[in-house]
């Protein structure tokens, strides 16, 4: 099993980061969308936002680790892309990182501007840093806009991957699913 990325494809760490975070990002979007419409007497009225906040913190930590891992690794070969595709893929890939960082921070700022910490599944808690009345409104708006932006970017990313897989018959999608061939 290849751990690090090689010119031929992605190692196990990058692939786990990719698919687990994809599940987490879609999951948190769905959860967030659903939980804000819950009835006050729904059994999930308290637990769903609690889970969303805690999972968001975990996702943020994973994101930082992933960026470090990305920088530490070589980028698999993209010679089969046109110059325009290469540019577009660069924008989409590197667009995700700042967007997700801003998305995480804005979510944190909805929950903490009154001094309350975020409890992460009872394992640890993240303290409030900025206390400012009314900040939760601005943060809420930013969080909403960024969440939808990430979904749009994810759709573009998915369509791009499917295009390479189906139309171009490239290994783009395959190499994110199964690792590179063992190095000789």
């Amino acid at each position: 099993m290849i751990v690090k990325d090689t010119p031929a494809g992605y190692g196990i760490v990058s692939r786990l980061f990719h698919w687990l975070m994809a599940i987490a990002i879609f999951g948190l979007f769905g959860l967030g969308w659903w939980m804000v419409g819950l009835d006050y007497y729904s059994p999930y009225y308290v637990s769903a936002p609690d889970f969303h906040r805690a999972a968001g913190i975990i996702l943020f930590i994973a994101l930082l680790a992933r960026i470090v891992w990305r920088v530490m690794n070589t980028k698999p070969d993209d010679a089969d892309l046109t110059p325009l595709e290469r540019k577009a893929s660069w924008v989409v890939h590197w667009g995700f990182y700042p967007l997700l960082i801003a998305l995480s921070i804005s979510g944190y700022l909805i929950a903490t501007p009154d001094g309350r910490p975020i409890d992460v599944f009872g394992w640890f808690s993240v303290p409030s840093i900025i206390q400012q009345k009314g900040l939760e409104d601005t943060a809420g708006l930013v969080h909403w806009v960024l969440a939808y932006t990430v979904m749009v970017l994810a759709a573009v990313h998915t369509l791009g991957a499917l295009k390479h897989h189906i139309v171009d018959k490239h290994t783009t999608l395959k190499r994110m699913w199964s690792g590179p061939p063992a190095q000789k």
Binding site: Y40, Y41, P49, I110, P113, D114, K133, D137, G140
Partner: protein, 193 residues
């Protein structure tokens, strides 16, 4: 004898100064924050959830000889709702409750004051909240009034009222025990000069 006359004059002068001016206009003392607008609503029927509006202003006129001629007007900045919990306040400002983006101001304008003696009165007036104007009745009581130590004249009241959230088009259902909210106004006015 001369001394006695002089002290009598001082007493008389003091009394004249201390006598509350009749039919005077007052500004609610928001500068010194000697006023607050508080609300409370039952949480699940188990306890009271209390909060307040941090920003408001208002004026009143009051005549202790003829309290029925009094009137009061209060404007509340609905976005200043404060229940000591940022995420809840965000929700209270949203369309489920106050919808402050569309309705940034709530007002109360009295239409009649009926004194019932003993420093008490019922103030009837129009409350405009979330774009809906409805009549509410405030049970008011005089707390005190007179010269303050800093050269001004003050007059203070307390008023309470309650109404159903649904009466003002607040759509969120908080359950059967939480249909009505109670509003308490603590008001101290400084007489206009």
């Amino acid at each position: 004898m001369t001394f006695r006359l002089a002290s009598l004059a001082v007493v008389a002068a003091t009394l004249a100064l201390a006598a509350p001016a009749s039919a005077a206009d007052y500004d609610i003392d928001i500068k010194g924050a000697h006023a607050s607008i508080n609300f409370r609503i039952k949480h699940l029927g188990f306890s009271w959830l209390a909060g307040r509006f941090d920003k408001f202003n208002g004026t009143f006129s009051y005549d202790d000889k003829a309290p029925e001629k009094s009137s009061v007007k209060v404007e509340i900045d609905t976005a200043s709702v404060n229940s000591n919990h940022a995420e809840r306040d965000k929700h209270l400002r949203a369309a489920d409750f106050l919808d402050v983006a569309q309705f940034p101001t709530a007002t109360f304008v009295s239409t009649s004051v009926k004194p019932s003696g003993d420093g008490k009165a019922t103030i009837t007036g129009d409350l405009t909240l979330r774009g809906v104007t409805k009549q509410v009745v405030i049970d008011a009581v005089v707390i005190g009034g007179g010269s303050d130590p800093w050269g001004g004249t003050r007059q203070g009241f307390e008023g309470t009222t309650k109404f159903a959230l649904a009466d003002f088009g607040i759509p969120k259902d908080l359950g059967p025990a939480s249909k009505e909210v109670e509003l308490t106004l603590h008001v101290e006015g400084v007489q206009k000069k």
